[in-house]
């Protein structure tokens, strides 16, 4: 058994949680490894040392002062939104449902409000389509003009005009 394995099992060994085979192998290892033996005694020592931090004795009126506190808090007005909501006794499910309805309501209102200044998706789509059509027409015109140099031509004067020589005269 390795020292690391032995030390990991020492707590279980001390608390009697190990099966007999595990106990035997730890005992055998500790018998021949003084460092693990020392670790085992220190591990038990530190556990016992923690007992030196003694308990304190709470006041005897803990329970009655608790109820005083409860009645005091119930009498005091609740400040802020959360305590007020808590006083209403809203459950988390109901609060979540109300929040969802509120969000959907705000979204719907913003979408369909008349003269709101917001563009609807349909408006945007129509405008985009118009821009694309204009772009397409412009591209077609330019392409046609560019390809016209390859003919067909009626005479050579026309070719010169196309190539910018027409104004030379």
């Amino acid at each position: 058994m390795e020292c690391r394995d032995c030390r990991e099992l020492i707590i279980s060994f001390s608390s009697g949680d190990l099966p007999s085979s595990g106990r035997e192998s730890i005992e055998a290892h500790i018998g021949e490894c003084p460092e693990c033996g020392l670790y085992m005694s220190q591990s038990a020592g530190v556990w016992n040392l923690l007992d030196e931090w003694r308990e304190i004795e709470p006041r005897g009126d803990f329970v009655s002062s608790f109820w005083d506190r409860v009645s005091r808090e119930e009498r005091e007005p609740a400040w802020g939104v959360l305590p007020r909501l808590r006083k209403l006794g809203l459950s988390w499910t109901l609060a979540g449902a109300l929040a969802s309805v509120l969000i959907v309501g705000i979204f719907t209102f913003a979408l369909f409000k008349p003269d709101s200044g917001f563009m609807t998706y349909a408006d945007n789509d129509a405008r985009d389509e118009q821009i694309l059509l204009e772009l397409d027409n412009a591209t077609t015109r330019e392409t046609t003009d560019a390809l016209s140099i390859y003919g067909p031509w009626e005479n050579s004067v026309q070719i010169m005009k196309i190539n910018g020589y027409g104004d030379m005269n």
């Binding site: 020292c3 690391r4 030390r7 990991e8 707590i11 279980s12 460092e35 693990c36 020392l38 670790y39 005694s41 220190q42 591990s43 020592g45 530190v46 556990w47 040392l49 923690l50 030196e52 931090w53 003694r54 308990e55 304190i56 709470p58 006041r59 803990f62 329970v63 002062s65 608790f66 109820w67 506190r69 409860v70 808090e73 459950s91």
Partner: protein, 190 residues
């Protein structure tokens, strides 16, 4: 049925007497858990009341899914942690460690045993405080509150194996830090 669960179910249906009985069964453990977590005796009862107040407020939605004590110590850990975080934001470490409240009391200063107790308490607190949070809580629950590894695992929301590892690692670190106070403390290698 577990007596705590039975009392909690009665409290849920409006029986405040059952809740009082539940508190009587557990307040001592909760006060001491918080005391050891914060090392402040004065606040520990107020904070323990805060723990029970949270449980009382949520009694209507209580469902007996786990052992009552695991729920109780989970809330106690959260309340203590929140308190320590708030406090650490305002105080230096020296101020926190000095808050035992017992030194300076003439009746205690003359008693060597009590001076030792005060010293050892602070030494243990500082050693525990130096551990990672989960190792500290695992050791406190298993050592001081007597929770089983299974119960501590539910409080820490981890596996039983992880709790054993936390306790083992924490214990190794405590040996290093508390060596001068151990009987015949020597060196060991790894």
């Amino acid at each position: 049925m577990d007596i705590d669960i039975e009392l909690m179910l009665r409290a849920k249906s409006g029986d405040d007497g059952a809740f009082s009985e539940l508190m009587r069964r557990h307040y001592r453990g909760v006060v001491n858990y918080i005391y050891r977590y914060t090392n402040v005796k004065e606040n520990s009862e107020d904070l323990a009341q805060e723990v029970f107040l949270r449980i009382y407020r949520s009694r209507k939605s209580y469902r007996p899914e786990a052992k009552f004590s695991t729920w109780l110590y989970k809330i106690a850990t959260n309340v203590s942690l929140t308190h320590v975080k708030k406090k650490n934001a305002n105080l230096s470490l020296d101020e926190i460690y000095d808050e035992g409240g017992e030194v300076g009391d003439p009746e205690i200063d003359v008693a060597d045993d009590l001076i030792y107790r005060k010293e050892i308490k602070d030494v243990i607190f500082q050693a525990m405080e130096s551990l990672p949070e989960r190792e500290k809580v695992a050791i406190m629950l298993c050592k001081y509150e007597g929770l089983s590894y299974e119960e501590a695992a539910r409080v820490l929301e981890c596996t039983v194996g992880a709790v054993k590892t936390h306790v083992h690692r924490g214990r190794m670190k405590l040996i290093d830090r508390l060596k001068p106070y151990l009987p015949g403390g020597g060196e060991y290698g790894m």
